[in-house]
């Protein structure tokens, strides 16, 4: 991998990690608020599963974010974040679709707090944002963590 590419990947890795740490911390600070947001997706109904996701997910994000920032097992951490992002994006899309069907609001005018840690957002903006994050995560998975070991086969 060319040095410039290594640096780009390293910057993406650290930026992703820092972002996930921040977003995880926002949710971990208010687990009750996050619990209410998880519930509104109407996917999990058993109290124990709702509570488990609301309690653990924010810290899980922080945990993976640390691995990304530090650059240890970054590909694995990025893969986990990528899988989470795919799942979250699908859930947000389903909820937005339900709101659209219920009220007829123009799809890209729909806004709600998706529980991502950024408060209420316009849904189309959230899709663009998540797509960018998924691409960056995929880049880290494929290219490695950047830095001296970038591109080397494990």
């Amino acid at each position: 991998m060319k040095p410039i590419h290594r640096h780009v990947v390293a910057i993406a890795r650290v930026a992703l990690g820092a972002l996930f740490i921040y977003l995880g911390a926002v949710k971990a600070y208010d687990p009750v608020g996050f619990l209410k947001l998880v519930r509104q997706f109407d996917v999990l109904h058993a109290p124990s599963s709702l509570n488990f996701v609301a309690a653990v997910l924010p810290w899980f994000e922080i945990f993976c974010g640390v691995f990304l920032v530090v650059g240890i097992k970054a590909r694995a951490a990025a893969l986990l974040q990528l899988l989470l992002l795919i799942g979250f994006t699908v859930l947000v899309a389903l909820r937005a679709a339900a709101i659209y069907r219920a009220g007829g609001t123009p799809f890209c005018s729909i806004r709600f707090d998706c529980g991502c840690g950024t408060g209420e957002v316009l849904i189309c903006f959230k899709f663009v944002e998540n797509t960018a994050l998924m691409l960056l995560s995929a880049m880290v998975v494929v290219a490695g963590g950047g830095g001296a070991t970038a591109g080397k086969q494990p």
């Binding site: 971990a28 600070y29 208010d30 687990p31 009750v32 619990l35 519930r39 109290p47 124990s48 709702l50 509570n51 488990f52 609301a54 309690a55 653990v56 997910l57 924010p58 810290w59 899980f60 945990f63 993976c64 691995f67 097992k73 590909r75 694995a76 951490a77 893969l79 986990l80 998975v141 086969q153 494990p154």
Partner: protein
């Protein structure tokens, strides 16, 4: 290393990190003062309170002169969980009623510390359903003595006032005393009503 073995290695590492992340999350939740009780049903069933706890729809006649306490028992709409909903006018009348200064009418704010401190109905007690053990001892006494209890949160889709009311009913407060202020603090402020800021004021005399 072949692509297949590299992928297997990546998958193994991901599983290890995932398991470690979950364990870390459980530990952090356990240690954190804001942690959730994993086994608790925070939202309860969408069913009205048990029939035995309802009592009569009309409040018991107070010994004092007739006041808004007797008059503000609307036989109107019910919330999702079966509690009586009160309009802003009804709540404002209760707020102005002399019974409030005598603690015969009690207001309960069902929001968390930050929202409560940012502004609440003057004299309102706080009862955070999600941190019940911190507040219930103080609120329960006032609730059992009161003739009318107005419970509110933000209004709109906020369920916390109903959840707090369910907690009170479960602890023996007659459902017939309880009114849910549907519009919540949002509507209260929109009407230019007085708001008190600051820390918890359980049992404090309400500001006039």
């Amino acid at each position: 290393m072949s692509t297949r073995s590299a992928a297997m290695k990546l998958a193994r590492e991901s599983i290890v990190i995932a398991v470690a992340g979950v364990v870390c999350g459980l530990l952090a939740n356990w240690v954190s003062p804001r942690g959730l009780a994993l086994g608790r049903d925070y939202f309860g069933p969408l069913s009205p309170p048990a029939a035995g706890s309802r009592g009569s729809k009309s409040p018991a006649a107070p010994a004092a002169a007739p006041s808004a306490v007797q008059d503000a028992s609307p036989a109107g709409k019910r919330s999702k969980r079966g509690f009586t909903l009160a309009s802003h006018d009804q709540v404002a009348a209760l707020f102005r009623d002399p019974g409030r200064a005598e603690q015969r009418i009690v207001f309960i704010d069902a929001r968390d510390d930050a929202h409560y401190a940012a502004g609440h109905i003057p004299g309102a007690c706080q009862l955070d359903h999600y941190r019940l053990d911190r507040y219930i001892a103080d609120v329960l006494g006032a609730s059992q003595l009161a003739e009318r209890i107005v419970v509110y949160c933000n209004g709109g889709n906020c369920e916390d006032s109903e959840l707090a009311s369910q907690d009170l009913v479960a602890l023996g407060v007659p459902e017939s005393k309880l009114l849910i202020y549907a519009g919540g603090i949002t509507e209260w402020k929109q009407h230019g009503m007085p708001v008190e800021t600051g820390a918890r004021g359980i049992g404090k005399s309400p500001t006039p």
